[in-house]
């Protein structure tokens, strides 16, 4: 075996296992034939150049397609997913320029995810945590440059990594069906991106109102996701999460200072209304009785809880009342740690629940097929 062939075999390890199982030897034989010819023509360097381009362009394609071929999301789902993003992008200018950038950054991340999914056959699950991580750090970097402050140091660097944990669990759990695995990885990405941008609003998520808001958001996301993820697909869930986030951003977050004033109020009500209209609509499409009950009651109850019950409690009993907290206090630390714990637990619980749902679906499907 020549050195060139050895190196080519190394490159072949980049392809998906299934692809290698069927085509590795054929590809090596093919390369060997090309190599013989290139040696006769003294064009080995040229062959390597072409081969490298071939590997670089086909490895991602094979990985994308190994997760499921020829699946393209219908435009109706894409439009649903883009709706919250559109609201974000066309917001009237905020009083604080930082918040404007943060919201714009979130909107662009949503859009990027949707565009990637619409433009490709269903990508492999491993693409998404990388996308989420890259997105998070990009937002960090862009905001740091724009604001003239460097916030990479200390505790901020590992922060997004913590939120990738649930996504990592899902990617490693290969037995979860593709569609739902991707849905779940999306939650990993949302977890990875949202706290990152909250941090940029001020001195950590707590000062920005994130300590209570962020876990509440993910509880809502999980509540929305559980009934919807396996029934309505990735983009439908994305829409629900996006809508929920918008509803929270513009109604209960005091740090944004845009509650119930003019346009933001209208947008906020519009978004909430859309969410509450879409929920019953999707409920009608649920397959089982229990699914319908969950699809309707869980998000509704969570929305009501978050919008009506929690805000007064937060303002009365929480350590932050006007967007300022004692960041050195014990209470702050406790809330901060709880924030981490809740988000990780929610992600893991969500992963396990979907895993169980899918196992049941798969068992049912195999019984039908048999």
């Amino acid at each position: 075996m020549s050195n060139s062939e050895r190196i080519y075999r190394l490159f072949l390890t980049l392809y998906p296992r299934e692809h290698r199982r069927h085509y590795e030897e054929l590809m090596v034989t093919h390369f060997r034939d090309q190599l013989k010819e290139a040696r006769r023509e003294r064009a080995v360097l040229h062959l390597w150049l072409r081969t490298l381009i071939d590997v670089v362009t086909t490895v991602p394609l094979e990985h994308m397609q190994s997760a499921g071929m020829h699946y393209v999301y219908p435009w109706s789902e894409v439009l649903l997913a883009i709706l919250p993003t559109s609201v974000l992008l066309f917001l009237p200018p905020q009083s604080d320029q930082i918040e404007r950038f943060v919201l714009l950054g979130l909107g662009l991340i949503y859009l990027a995810i949707v565009v990637v999914y619409r433009s490709q056959d269903r990508p492999a699950a491993w693409v998404l945590p990388i996308l989420g991580l890259a997105g998070t750090y990009s937002v960090f970097w862009v905001f740091s440059v724009l604001l003239g402050e460097w916030r990479w140091g200390g505790e901020y660097i590992p922060f997004p990594l913590v939120y990738l944990l649930p996504a990592g669990i899902v990617v490693l759990t290969r037995s979860i069906r593709d569609g739902n695995r991707l849905t779940l990885v999306l939650f990993g990405i949302l977890m990875a991106t949202s706290p990152g941008v909250y941090l940029l609003q001020g001195e950590g998520s707590l000062a920005a109102g994130g300590a209570l808001e962020v876990p509440a958001l993910f509880l809502l996301a999980a509540a929305l996701g559980l009934p919807f993820a396996s029934r309505y697909g990735f983009l439908g869930t994305l829409f629900m999460v996006g809508s929920a986030q918008m509803a929270i951003e513009f109604t209960i977050d005091p740090s944004l200072q845009i509650r119930f004033d003019g346009w933001p109020r209208l947008l906020s009500l519009l978004n909430l209304g859309t969410t509450l209209i879409i929920i019953p609509f999707l409920t009608l499409r649920a397959r089982s009785g229990l699914g319908r009950v969950l699809a309707f009651l869980l998000p509704l109850a969570t929305c009501l809880l978050l919008l009506i019950v929690l805000p007064p409690l937060i303002y009365t009993y929480s350590p932050y009342t006007a967007g300022h907290v004692d960041t050195a206090g014990l209470v702050e630390r406790a809330i901060y740690l709880t924030n981490y714990a809740v988000q990780i637990l929610v992600g893991m619980a969500f992963a396990l629940t979907l895993y169980g749902t899918n196992r049941k679906d798969d068992l049912r499907a195999s019984r039908i097929n048999n």
Partner: protein
């Protein structure tokens, strides 16, 4: 759905790699390297498929039912390595015809609008 009953138009337009592989197989079965050589020859070296492109396309064409594996045996002209041979299916031939007609139609329009430049064309 059974590929034999599928509408070939749903595969159209084909990627250049898939079109050239179908063309290469139109006059008989071939193995991977022979397909690549044929494509290189008929395009004067303009289309050169590496192993990744070739076998990625072959995998998708097998799945779509355009081609099938015919046999595995040595190629006496090369060496004694066993090679897998591929041949067109009826569906693959219909897809090839549909794509060729689409391209022919485009060429007719281009000719009518004098958009072929200095290219020499034959036929009507």
């Amino acid at each position: 759905m059974n590929p034999a009953q599928s509408d070939p138009d749903q595969e159209i337009p084909l990627t250049p790699a898939v079109f050239h592989i179908l063309l290469a197989l139109a006059d008989g079965e071939k193995h991977g390297y022979a397909i690549m050589k044929e494509v290189e020859s008929v395009t004067d070296g303009a289309v050169r498929m590496g192993p990744g492109t070739l076998y990625g396309s072959i995998k998708r064409m097998l799945k779509a039912g355009m081609i099938r594996e015919s046999d595995e045996r040595p190629d006496p002209e090369l060496d004694d390595a066993r090679r897998r041979y591929y041949e067109l299916t009826g569906y693959g031939r219909r897809v090839l015809e549909a794509e060729a007609q689409r391209l022919a139609q485009a060429v007719r329009v281009a000719r009518r609008k004098n958009a072929l430049g200095g290219a020499t064309t034959t036929g009507g």
